[in-house]
Amino acid sequence: MGLVTVTVCTAEFVNLAGREAAALGMAELPLVVIPHPMADKSPDQVADIAARVADNVALALGGKALGVIPYPDGVNGGGAGIPANRG
């Protein structure tokens, strides 16, 4: 048995991650969503976000949640992956 892991993904990249997981035969791969962007967050903000998704990580680790596990505040992106109007 390998090392148990959880994929944590910002909202902007959830669709990409989900599509790739499905393409590789893992459509139900748990994806714990966090807000986007993260790069400019302070350590305190990162710690706050981590605390807010800790339960979701535990659910994923325990196999009790599959697929996209939304961020608690419900802001989960969605722009990516929606076909754009190209005229």
């Binding site: 990409l16 790739e20 393409a23 992956g81 754009a84």
Partner: protein, 375 residues
């Protein structure tokens, strides 16, 4: 020969065809050649349409020769270019190339295709003045065919699963041949282990070219100092991920190096040693901290110099262009390796030295879509 792609009926006018392809997101915004069955079959030139080149991310859909041929028709390729397109797609699917990341990253990289060997001249793939474009049908359409193939088969459409923050002109088409005649060194593909007579493609996950303007230098050291300084920039992935930065010397610059007997290895070593940034600056921004620096960089010392590559051999050095005192630094995605493949080998199944002898047979009829995703 039986083509299996979905047939689509559309009004037989360029505007209607373009509207269809634009509205489905199947192109790049520019006009396309309608991929009719007759044109696709001509592009295939008798090769088996069901032959699989590999799986294209992120959808992991099969790149069959049929699908690649459809995209090559759309891009405007002549059938004799097709083995080059197939070899480039095959090279891009090598795990070392890291195609999933290249197609989906926020970084502005396209798939650069460098062609070597006598076939480049036979196909009029431009290596001399203006080689990076525009104006050369082979360069323009081969690069575009590879881009369209990877986009339409793999499903990484711009703004959707292609997550490039700003995109790049390098994503439309990016192809040139090395100017082997103007090089003081063995051809680039020979340096990578191929016989000079063999045609090859090398793919790089590359940004567009950044100019190296040096009108003043009369010595190799002066020229290479300019080149190294052009490479050493805070905003480049190479400073953090290293990888394989490319420098393409214009013939007049290459002549300076040849006159002074600089070997390719000498040039690589100079650029590796001198294209560096002090750690005290690197730590202020860029992508600092995301990827470990080489262990030998002393991060206790703000003056310690951070390289743009892991080792001198990773700096890719070649020659292209015509008259003038310009060269180019071509940064890459960094987390990718250049991959070289023989043209006409692998899935294409033709001896690369052969002319496939196909004629373009344009005619009407239903269109084939060449796509793996239902859009």
């Amino acid at each position: 020969m039986e083509l299996v792609s979905r047939r689509i009926e559309v009004d037989d006018s360029p505007e209607a065809v373009l509207h269809l392809f634009n509205s489905r997101g199947w192109g790049d915004g520019l006009p396309i050649i309608p991929p009719t069955e007759e044109r696709v079959e001509a592009m295939l030139g008798g090769r088996l349409p069901e032959r699989v080149v590999g799986l294209v991310p992120p959808s992991q859909a099969e790149a069959t020769l049929e699908r690649v041929a459809i995209n090559a028709v759309m891009a405007g390729c002549r059938p004799e270019y097709f083995p080059v397109v197939v070899a480039a797609v095959e090279a891009a699917l090598d795990p070392d190339f890291n195609l999933y990341a290249i197609l989906t990253t926020t970084h502005p990289c396209g798939v650069l295709i460098v062609v070597n060997g006598p076939l480049a001249r036979q196909l009029a793939i431009r290596s001399e003045a203006g080689a990076f474009g525009p104006g050369w049908p082979a360069n323009a359409t081969i690069g575009r065919a590879v881009r369209l193939s990877l986009q339409n088969i793999g499903g990484a459409y711009p703004g959707e699963l292609d997550r490039a923050t700003q995109g790049s002109p390098a994503k439309y088409t990016w192809c040139f041949a090395e100017n082997e005649e103007a090089s003081p060194w063995e051809p680039f593909h020979v340096s990578r282990g191929y016989p000079a007579s063999h045609p090859t493609v090398t793919v790089c996950g590359a940004e567009g070219p950044h100019n190296i303007n040096d009108h003043a230098s009369t010595t190799g050291t002066g020229l290479l100092t300019t080149a190294a300084d052009t490479m050493a920039i805070m905003g480049s992935n190479h400073l953090y991920a290293r990888g394989e930065p490319m420098v393409v010397f214009g013939p007049e610059h290459a002549a300076i190096l040849g006159r002074e007997n600089w070997t390719r290895a000498d040039v690589q070593r100079f650029l590796f040693d001198n294209a560096r940034k002090p750690y005290g600056k690197v730590r202020l921004g860029g992508a600092h901290g995301m990827i470990a620096l080489p262990r030998w960089v002393n991060t206790e010392d703000p003056a310690a110099l951070v390289p743009m590559a892991e080792q001198a051999e990773d700096v890719l050095v070649l020659v292209a262009g015509g008259v003038g005192r310009h060269s180019a630094f071509i940064p890459t995605f960094g987390l990718t390796r250049a991959v070289t493949r023989l043209i006409g080998g692998g899935a294409c199944g033709l001896d690369g030295s052969d002319d496939c002898g196909c004629d373009v047979q344009a005619s009407g009829g239903g269109l084939t879509d060449g796509l793996s995703t239902d859009r």
